[in-house]
């Protein structure tokens, strides 16, 4: 009885501290939004940064959603760009085919719903077989699926006319469209001319929604169940936790959110091709997650912002740009993760006059 009370109290404490952490995250996002928005409206902003606002939102959403899979299940997914690709293509097709004349914000909402639903569906389809695997085998299979998606979309031709949607995998001529037909997906040429519906405000709203979904899922019964399997699979299975069901839920939600990120991406550029969504993008998003701290949502956001802006910042170095980027990436990883660096930092913290006491519990 006494013990039960105690554990209930501990759970309450943990819950209130996570809640506080979550609120801080929302606060940071909103503060950043207000600062940037006021800079934009007063014109005190460079074109480069203004142009980066939406892409930063895209990568933040992608990183936070990937953290749902990597962070709570501890599994490595290398196919996240594939889901972004599905979301981007499905929604761009939809926007180009339908919805002329509707208000922009409404078209964007429709596009996000279509893109997220398509990517979520792929998440379930892929998740069912993939989640039976573990570790590096799961990683390579997600990478494989990502490449397959890219490869298949490259041979996809699609258009729409008064008779409905026409799809072919051969060529534009095989679409057999009526005279009023509009060819939208042109194989390797991709989709061009998608109206620019994405805005910074829409991006931030989507980030908030993503945060809400991911943080709630992580702290839900399902989230804790998945984490228990990450920490000790055998123990979790032995007490009858339906691991696979929960993992599939997390995987599908993560895919749908990545799809939403893809929607935001494709409605921000006039030209869309699959080249963007190769394993390098998947790896890039994974870099955000690992650098920011696995399972740490706020870290993902900060890492995504820094690493998206950094290569642009380094433009002044011209030829040495990507070289320096690589060096900084390695250095940041060593600084953040190497046990020696961590203990060195702790010693330094203690020495500081206002240094905190050595931490005892888990951090956020």
């Amino acid at each position: 009885m006494n013990q039960n009370n105690q554990s209930a109290e501990i759970i309450k404490k943990i819950q209130s501290s996570t809640r506080r952490g979550n609120l801080i995250t929302y606060g940071i996002v909103l503060a950043a939004y207000i600062v940037m928005q006021s800079l934009v409206s007063t014109g005190h902003i460079s074109s480069l940064l203004k142009g980066l606002l939406v892409p930063v939102c895209v990568y933040v959403i992608a990183a936070v959603s990937l953290n749902l899979v990597v962070g709570i299940s501890g599994e490595l997914s290398l196919g996240h760009a594939g889901f972004m690709c599905v979301g981007a293509y499905a929604s761009s097709f939809f926007t180009n085919a339908y919805g002329d004349g509707l208000p922009n914000w409404f078209r964007l909402i429709l596009a996000i719903i279509v893109g997220a639903a398509a990517a979520g569906l792929f998440g379930i389809l892929i998740g069912v077989p993939v989640l039976r695997l573990k570790g590096d085998y799961l990683a390579i299979v997600t990478l494989a699926f990502g490449e397959i998606i890219k490869n298949l979309i490259n041979v996809l031709y699609a258009g729409v006319d008064s008779n409905g949607i026409h799809i072919s995998t051969k060529s534009a001529m095989d679409l057999n469209m009526g005279p009023d037909g509009k060819q939208i997906i042109k194989g390797a040429l991709g989709i061009s001319g998608t109206p620019r519906l994405s805005t910074f405000t829409a991006g931030v709203v989507l980030i908030i929604i993503t945060l809400f979904i991911v943080q709630n899922l992580m702290n839900s019964r399902a989230g804790r169940a998945i984490m228990s399997t990450r920490d000790n699979r055998i123990a979790a299975e032995s007490i009858g936790i339906p691991v696979t069901k929960y993992k599939l839920l997390a995987f599908a939600v993560s895919a749908a959110l990545a799809g939403a990120a893809g929607v935001l991406y494709s409605h921000n550029l006039a030209s869309l091709s699959t080249a963007k969504f190769d394993y390098n993008t998947s790896i890039l998003v994974l870099v955000f997650v690992v650098l920011g701290g696995i399972g740490n949502i706020r870290g993902s956001i900060i890492a995504a912002v820094i690493l998206t802006v950094l290569p642009e910042m380094l433009r002044g170095l011209s030829a040495y740009r990507m070289l320096i980027y690589a060096v900084i990436l390695i250095a940041m990883m060593l600084f953040n993760w190497a046990p020696a660096a961590i203990s060195w930092r702790e010693r330094m913290m203690e020495r500081l006059p206002f240094g905190r006491k050595k931490r005892t519990g888990e951090e956020d």
Binding site: P129, I140, V141, L143, N151, V287, M322, L323, M333
Partner: protein, 294 residues
């Protein structure tokens, strides 16, 4: 006849994948990390050999040896600077990301030093090609050498691991690092040795890859690296014969898929077969299915 031709093409492509996969699987099995930079070490190896051949006019064998030495050194350095500090990190993903950083670093260094344009690789293999069935089937000297070398490497690696003392140390480290340390195995030295061997093999792979497909650019290693990683997983990562078989099979599937299904979705076919295999046998063809203990 055309089927046999395609099969031969597949085997020669697969033999190159196999050599790269051997290095991958070696490092993975012992250091337990995916060395994403392995493909780029191959590229460095190819460039070093090419520079030796064209700038100094060294004989091929000397060029290959210098290239192996350079890559061995590079591999040991990368391991010491970038990977070793993270070996005890709380997540194994940390070192994976660092490896990606190293991969970017090598690619961009090569871009600065050698320029963006591809350079044609000078053929180092002076082995006669073999003509079978009245000249209908022509097997190039490079293919023969590649297959021979990959078999030699596979056999000698297997012997090395199973019969020598450092080899046993590698097995011990791969089985249980902490226990091996307690038994007096120098874990750091063993892992360094693994990287040395893996990177030396990468140099050989680079030379053979670029002899078979004679162009080298800063991004030459990236795609073969991913394919070889796939091959290593296919064969059961950590398994030396598995890497060999996985590489060959991957090459054959790729070529046959292109020949009989579609060249446009060749990659989708390769990865599709991989997925099916892994779903049927989740630890790859030769992988050990280790049950975790409580």
């Amino acid at each position: 006849m055309s089927f046999i031709t395609y099969l031969k093409d597949g085997i020669s492509l697969g033999a190159v994948y196999a050599i790269i996969a051997l290095g991958y699987t070696m490092v993975y099995g012992i250091a337990k990390m995916l060395n994403f930079a392995h493909g780029d070490v191959i590229m460095v190896g190819a460039y070093v050999a090419l520079m030796m051949l064209t700038k100094t006019g060294a004989p091929p064998i000397a060029a290959v040896l210098v290239s192996m030495a350079a890559c061995t050194l590079l591999g040991i350095t990368i391991e010491m600077v970038a990977y070793r500090p993270l070996r005890k990190a709380s997540s194994s993903l940390a070192v994976l990301i660092t490896a990606i950083g190293v991969s970017y670093l090598l690619q961009n260094l090569a871009l600065l030093i050698f320029g963006a344009g591809g350079k044609t690789f000078v053929n180092v293999v002076s082995f006669p090609s073999v003509s079978l069935a009245d000249g209908q089937l022509n097997i190039s000297g490079t293919t023969i050498v590649t297959i021979l070398v990959s078999v030699i490497i596979m056999v000698s690696l297997t012997l090395f691991v199973n019969k020598t003392k450092p080899g046993h140390a590698m097995l011990a480290v791969s089985e249980d690092r902490d226990a091996a340390q307690l038994m007096g195995v120098n874990v750091n030295a063993t892992i360094s040795l693994t990287f040395a061997i893996g990177s030396g093999l990468a140099a050989v792979a680079g030379v053979l890859l670029c002899s078979a497909y004679p162009i080298v650019s800063p991004y030459t290693g990236a795609m073969p690296g991913i394919k070889a990683f796939t091959a290593a997983v296919f064969g059961g990562i950590g398994s030396i014969p598995g890497a060999m078989l996985g590489g060959i099979l991957l090459g054959v599937i790729e070529v046959l898929g292109k020949a009989y299904i579609s060249t446009q979705v060749a990659d989708a076919i390769v990865f599709g077969v991989l997925i099916v295999v892994l779903l049927v046998k989740p630890s790859g063809l030769f992988g050990k299915n280790i049950q975790e203990k409580v």
